[in-house]
Amino acid sequence: MRLNEEMTDLIQTLGAGLLIGCVYGLLGLGIVIIFRASEAFNFAIGEFLVVGSFLFYIFFFDLHLPFLLALPLGLLAAGAMGAIIERLSIKPLLGRSALSMTIITLGLASVLRSSVQLIFGAHSYSFSLELPDTSLEFGSLLFPSERVWAGLLSVVTFGFILFFLFRTRWGVAIRATSESQAKAMAFGIDARFILLMVWALSSMCIAVAGVMISNFGALSFLTGIAGLRAIPVVLIGGMDSIGGALIGGLIVGLCEALVGSYIEPLGLVGFKDVAPYLLLLIVLFIRPYGLFGTVRIERV
């Protein structure tokens, strides 16, 4: 079956959108698990992305460790960083309103951004992972290796987190605490430690996404802008839905790709950055809690 040119273009666009959508889904997951546990929206997601990527950079590029060693170490470092940040800035607010915690993350974003600039300077760092070539080429369809790896690793990470949350005892404890801190404490689950774990997990997810995104280009403190893509992702998918994060991510990825290929050439350059927000508005009109958010078990 010979695909005509338009079909090929469409498949190329959809494929690219899905691949990047997986990365966005992972970013969304990072936000969702914190939101479920602390009810706070982590506005510092962009900065977590950059710090996580820089931590990996140190292990892989500075210390020249092989990728299979550098990645887990980098993720552990990112997790530790998330835990430290939680201890210093979030824990003191335990019991206070979620709004306070959210506002703290705004300040946190500033502090982290400046710290990164102080430590690593303001210039760009070359970032080429040079993983084994997995580019997919069929005729005039081309999915470059970096993108394929990004989609792959994001899905794998997502899977790990799902496994952790639904098949391990810590996962059960996390989900219990996310539902009710008081009940959890009453049954001996140390809610404070659980929150620490959640922030550490979230940081790891975001670090994986960050490494993939940095691999597309270079790494600098500005790379964190990509983190803000997570906002439409979780608002479309539902702020407290894990599955929604993936679906939201894919939707935003597809939206971006389709707009970039078909609407931008009409002259609206840059529209693909705006389009997910427009889509978000539409979705919120129909489902105010996002597509999969706030499914409530109602007692009849």
Binding site: S220, T223, I225, R229
Partner: protein, 415 residues
């Protein structure tokens, strides 16, 4: 009575103390230099360092015929509004006969200041912009008598690139242009289109690439659809991340295409941030490469960097050299004006207009007149990225830009 005597005594004492230093109260020489040391084009503090080191050196050697130059350096963050605001502030605060030379570094700042600089203040203004509109055939000294550019216009640079493409592709190349949505980015487009038509090359895609972009896939896929095989990237320096993003994406999707760049993308920064993606890139530059120690100006810059202990911080010698060039240039014209006993704005302008100078050997010893208010020397280089080597404990992509053409005087030699 005693009180009054006392006050008069103090006054006399004061006058007596001031008198000796009054002799050295010659009119101060004030200049303002603005560089984009931060902002969307990346972090480029080397500009400022080069200028400051140059000024300190000059002043230590006596300045302008014995008098030190009072210099102001500002970071205009690559924003036209900031540049305009800075200049307006200084022009209002300083006296006309003291503040006699200024410089800027953004095409977008030239336009708003046209009237202010050329009609109101009448102060000579050097700029790092190579705007075709201001300095090219449509503008020039007749329209903007006080504007001076330190390089060849972007339009000329594009023409050189197009000529190279024609030769390399034997006339069959399909050209794609990727530009930034700024004055700088859009500047050479018309001239480029006209010239391409003239020499029979096809421009198959023109893609705008915003500096808020996190992703270049749509631009690159469009080029791929249009089957562009020569991609010219213009309007950003190599420092910011989005350049790296574009280069790498282009390299992945356009396997057989040649990437090209204009003046500010041709340099070590490109290799630093893009690594292997920059291999094989062709670029034009109005200056020699920062590691070309056979060039006297380059050599001098390196010596300065050593002397003032900047070596570790400098990522791109070109930027440092540029700042230094500005300082040396300021010194040269101010000295000439002073020697002609006309240390005023008009005097400096005259000095610039009549300047015939070799710029400390920057262009391999050739000297020019500044009559056209541009320095129309351009050279084409090719980038070769060697394997990554260890450098100060880090894995760094090392490469060079080798000249693949002689210095072309775009006024005279460009067809």
């Amino acid at each position: 009575m005693k009180g009054r005597l006392f006050i008069i005594g103090i006054m006399l004492l004061g006058i007596v103390l001031i008198l000796p230093s009054a002799a050295s109260f010659a009119k101060p020489i004030k200049v303002l230099a603005q560089f984009p040391m931060s902002g969307p084009v990346g972090s480029l503090p080397e500009f400022g360092w080069g200028f400051i080191d140059g000024m300190n050196y000059i002043n230590a050697k006596g300045g302008v015929n014995g008098q030190a130059i009072t210099y102001f350096v500002e970071d205009m963050r690559y924003s036209p509004t900031v540049e305009v605001a800075n200049f307006t502030r200084y022009a209002a605060a300083e006296k006309r006969d003291e503040f006699i030379l200024a410089s800027g570094y953004i095409t977008g700042g030239l336009k708003p200041l046209i009237d202010k600089v050329n009609k109101e203040e009448r102060i000579p203004w050097l700029d790092g912009s190579y705007s075709t509109e201001v300095f090219g055939p449509g503008g020039g000294p007749s329209k903007y008598p006080y504007y001076y550019s330190l390089g060849a216009t972007y339009g000329d640079q594009m023409r050189v690139l197009l000529n190279w493409i024609k030769e390399d592709s034997k006339g069959k190349g399909k050209v794609a242009i990727v530009y930034s949505p700024t004055e700088w980015g859009r500047d050479p487009l018309e001239v480029t289109r006209a010239h391409a038509k003239k020499i029979g090359l096809q421009i198959v895609a023109e893609e705008e690439y915003a500096y808020t972009a996190t992703d270049a896939t749509s631009q690159v896929t469009n080029i791929r659809k249009a089957k562009g095989d020569y991609v010219i990237y213009h309007g950003y320096s190599a420092a910011p991340t989005h350049t790296a993003i574009f280069m790498k994406t282009a390299r992945q999707y356009l396997k057989k295409a040649t990437l090209l760049g204009t003046h500010y993308t041709t340099g070590p920064y490109m290799i630093l941030t893009c690594g292997k993606a920059a291999d094989g890139m062709v670029g034009v530059s109005c200056r020699p490469q920062g590691d070309d120690l056979t060039n006297p100006m380059v050599k001098m810059s390196h010596e300065f960097a050593d002397k003032y202990k900047r070596k570790d911080g400098i990522k791109d010698m070109f930027l440092y050299m540029e700042g230094l060039t500005y300082a040396l240039m300021f010194h040269e014209v101010l000295t000439r004006a002073d020697t002609a006993k006309e240390l005023t704005r008009e005097g400096v302008k005259k000095a610039l207009d009549n300047l015939v100078w070799d710029y400390h050997g920057v262009f391999g010893g050739r000297g020019f007149s500044y009559k056209s208010h541009t320095i129309p020397m351009v050279r084409t280089y090719r980038c070769k990225v060697e394997k990554e080597v260890e450098q100060a404990g880090k894995k760094v992509a090392v490469g060079t830009w080798t000249p693949i053409s002689p210095w072309i005087n775009t006024d005279i030699e460009l067809k």
